[in-house]
């Protein structure tokens, strides 16, 4: 659980640094996100006069929900403390509640940007959550369980083979991950243009420790999705339950390597594409939903696909 918390800013810093390199800039050092979080933590929080209690507690709730969700995903070992208690559906629900609270907080102060951000976020969520659920069902049908440790060990076993439905689910999951993490082409995490923001517009009013929580949750979420994709579709190196320290070490090394590869690919993708119009996002996520649906149908039609 602590590991994900510590690694999350590093992944964000790595993606930013690779993007800067691709643009022939030096960019900030890779540990800059840690410094930013510390700086924000030391600052006073400024609250709007008309902010309600919801506005103040929202960052902690969002952070808690995201952290728990991230802790439920096997990163380098399958035997997790909480494996028995929660599965993929719980993770989706956690993220859904975090988003719901964030959207509420965005509207709480009543500025127009918060409202714009919340309505856009709700629109994106409306399309991405069904797609996510479809992907979860596909995986569950194939592996016979929604519990991630079981899914991961099933994926490692030879019973999987090459399946079309898994391929479709992978593509759909990547699309959902891009939308959920407010990356280009759906949202631009680095923009300063108030009118184009989605995620940033909702958190415009936050400062100090509240902003720390929100920024950290955003970083955790990115890590969560990368871990999820890695755990389900590239589970090599995962240490099985009760393995020795060597296996754990291999697991950690493999995990960090997977994160680095994912960060590199994400930065490369973001640099090579422009942001899409807000109204193109439903098309984009609709495609993800269709892919998820197709994957599940294929699974029903034929056991081997």
């Amino acid at each position: 659980m602590l590991l994900v918390l510590l690694l999350a800013p590093l992944l964000t810093g790595f993606v930013r640094s690779v993007k800067a390199r691709l643009l022939r800039r030096h960019g900030p050092p890779i540990i800059q996100p840690y410094r930013d979080l510390l700086r924000l933590l030391r600052k006073d929080a400024v609250l709007a006069h008309n902010a309600s209690w919801l506005f103040r507690v929202a960052p902690y709730l969002i952070f808690a929900a995201t952290w728990v969700a991230a802790a439920l995903i096997p990163t380098f070992a399958t035997g997790l403390m909480f494996s028995w208690s929660a599965d993929l559906i719980a993770i989706v629900a956690m993220l859904g509640s975090a988003r719901f609270i964030l959207a509420l907080a965005g509207m709480d102060v009543g500025t127009s940007f918060g409202g714009i951000g919340s309505s856009r976020e709700a629109m994106i969520a409306t399309f991405s959550e069904p797609a996510m659920i479809m992907i979860v069902f596909t995986l569950a049908l194939i592996a016979g369980s929604t519990e991630l440790s079981t899914v991961a060990s099933f994926m490692l076993s030879s019973a999987v083979g090459l399946r079309v439905s898994l391929g479709l689910a992978l593509v759909a999951l990547i699309m959902v991950a891009i939308a959920e993490n407010a990356r280009i082409p759906v949202d631009n995490p680095a923009t300063h243009l108030e009118l184009t923001m989605v995620h940033e517009a909702m958190v415009l009013e936050y400062s100090g420790r509240h902003l720390t929580m929100i920024e950290l949750s955003a970083m955790l979420k990115l890590l969560l999705y990368v871990s999820l994709i890695a755990c389900v579709f590239a589970p090599w190196g995962l240490a099985p339950d009760g393995a020795g320290p060597i296996a754990y070490l291999i697991g950690i090394a493999a995990y960090i390597l997977k994160l680095a590869i994912a960060g590199l690919l994400l930065a490369l993708f973001e640099t090579s594409i422009a942001k899409m119009r807000v109204f193109r996002v439903p098309d984009f996520l609709g495609a993800a939903l269709m892919l998820g649906l197709l994957a599940m149908l294929l699974r029903f039609v034929s056991r081997s696909l």
Binding site: K19, L22, L23, R24, R25, S112, F113, G115, I116, S119, I184, P185, N188, A190, T191, H192, L193, E194, L195, T196, L204, T271, S272, I273, A274, K275, M276, R277, V278, F279, R280
Partner: protein, 505 residues
């Protein structure tokens, strides 16, 4: 229709006004001119005030004839041109704010530059203390189901100039945009009154920082016209060299910035490198990256730094080598084209009505370029094309810039090939027995900058007006965004790239 030259003939010609005539006319001719503007026979170049008169500069596009009409208004009233020809509206509101001349019949009598924070009203006319209980600015209403307002600025999230935008939107679709400008008002008009030529040239170069060469150029030409001197040939060519370098730097910066607003940072990074190359070369050639204060009445402040011509040639070679690749990148990135094509369309009819210059006008089919017509040296001696596009969308405005970059590269090359030798500054005595007036129209990177200056007998500026091209581009932005989505506004705004500082003066 009446030819402009005939209309000018009806009035009393003002003495010592060069190079175009200025006629002092009565109400009849003033109203007739407004009717001609409304009918599209003439284009409005500028409308500005003085303590006891209003002036209006007109252009007849067919003949490239320019004339200035003056209406004396001792009673502080003049018939509004804006009531029949809307491009004049904001200009008249400004005249009213600064001088207190009331435009009779104007449909919109809200203040424009005056936000009630000056402490006085009509600072350039009969100044009176401003009332303490000023009315709040009433934005234009929009009615309908489910409309909401979004207020943006004047303080923005990025480091840009101040301006307020009030959107009325239905969900994501913009129903109406209204701008409120004037936050960058610096009182240049008052500062110029009574300034000697050196200080006035200094001030003119500080009106809009990115067009400092063009403003210096325009001011110098107007003064030279008033005094009746010609700068040395080498100075004229060096001025064009600076103007083209400024155009290159700004267009390159703009192309990158537009792409960046579509979150395509790669293009901006590449264009910023090229822009930086241009600025560094300008620094090594003229000792200042933006070449500020290098153009003075009578010539230029300094000759090219020794041995800097090879630097310029190297810059051209580098631009020629790298720019086509960037154009291809822009053209071949489908996700970028998806954002720019068809976004923020400006109708050609509106561009014509507002006599809108620069890349905004040329992307909507208006071919006006002050370098070509009425033309001024040394451009009448140089080969270049004026690129025209007719679609009027963001994509067209990017393409005008791309083509103009190519033309400017060609122009700099011609200038280097044919740069004459000689002195770079003519000394002259600006004092004379009587006052003289001069006007000039110079093409900056945004469009045509009009300058009108009256010199007093002792050689100082009595009154000077500099009209930024943005006056006729800002209102069109409101029209171009209509029916687009809110999130596309930054893209449209950047493709117009109007000046706040030059407009707010």
């Amino acid at each position: 229709m009446t030819a402009l030259i005939d209309m000018m003939g009806i009035g009393r010609e003002a003495p010592n006004h060069r190079p175009w005539p200025r006629a002092i006319v009565g109400l009849e001719v003033w109203r007739a001119a407004a009717a001609h503007l409304a009918a599209g026979h003439y284009s409005l170049l500028a409308l500005w005030g003085e303590s006891d008169a209003v002036h209006m500069a007109l252009l007849e596009e067919a003949t490239a004839q320019i004339g200035i009409l003056t209406l004396e208004c001792p009673d502080r009233h003049f018939p509004s041109v804006g009531q029949v020809h809307s491009p004049a509206l904001r200009l008249e509101r400004t005249v009213c704010d600064l001088f207190g001349h009331e435009p009779d019949g104007i449909p919109d009598n809200r203040p424009w530059l005056d936000h009630g924070h000056w402490g006085v009203r009509h600072p350039l006319g009969a100044a009176v203390a401003s009332p303490a209980d000023a009315l709040p600015y009433a934005f234009l209403p929009a009615e309908g189901e489910g409309l909401h307002q979004i207020a943006v600025g004047p303080v923005h999230a990025g480091i840009i100039e101040p301006g307020h935008f009030r959107f009325t939107a239905n969900g994501e679709t913009v129903v109406r945009l209204e701008e409120r400008l004037g936050f960058a008002h610096k009182g240049i008009d008052r500062l110029l009154e009574g300034a000697d030529l050196a200080r006035a040239a200094n001030l003119a170069g500080r009106i809009s920082g990115d067009s400092t060469v063009a403003y210096g150029f325009a001011f110098a030409r107007a003064v030279e016209a008033a005094v009746g001197i010609e700068p040395p040939l080498r100075a004229v060519w060096l001025r064009a060299l600076m103007a083209e370098l400024e155009r290159l730097a700004n267009h390159l910066g703009d192309i990158g910035a537009i792409c960046n607003d579509a979150s395509f940072a790669l293009m901006q990074a590449q264009c910023a490198i090229l822009r930086e190359l241009v600025l560094r070369t300008a620094d090594s050639c003229f000792g200042h990256r933006l070449m500020r204060d290098r153009i003075l009445p009578g010539g230029v402040a300094m000759d090219l730094v020794d041995d800097s011509i090879p630097d310029l040639r190297a810059l051209l070679a580098e631009l020629r080598r790298r720019f086509p690749g960037l154009v291809a990148l822009y053209d071949n990135t489908a996700s970028l084209q998806d954002r720019t094509v068809g976004t923020g369309v400006l109708q050609p009819a509106l561009a014509r009505q507002y006599a809108c210059g620069g890349f905004v006008g040329r992307a909507s089919g208006r071919s006006f370029d002050a370098r070509r017509r009425p033309g001024y040296p040394p451009y009448d001696d140089l080969r270049f094309d004026v690129p025209i596009f007719t679609k009027g969308d963001v994509n067209a405005r990017v393409w005008v810039r791309i083509r103009e970059v190519e033309q400017s590269i060609g122009l700099v090359e011609q200038i280097l090939d044919r740069l004459p030798a000689g002195s770079v500054r003519a000394r002259f005595d600006p004092s004379a027995s009587k006052s003289r007036e001069g006007a000039a129209l110079v093409e900056g990177f945004r469009g045509d900058i009009l300058t009108w200056v009256r010199l007093g007998a002792e050689g100082t500026v009595q009154r000077c007006h500099l009209r930024d091209p943005s006056w006729f581009q800002w209102p069109l932005l409101e029209s171009a965004i209509e029916g687009n989505i809110v999130a596309d506004f930054p893209l449209c705004n950047k493709s117009f790239n109007c000046s706040y500082s030059g407009h707010d003066l």
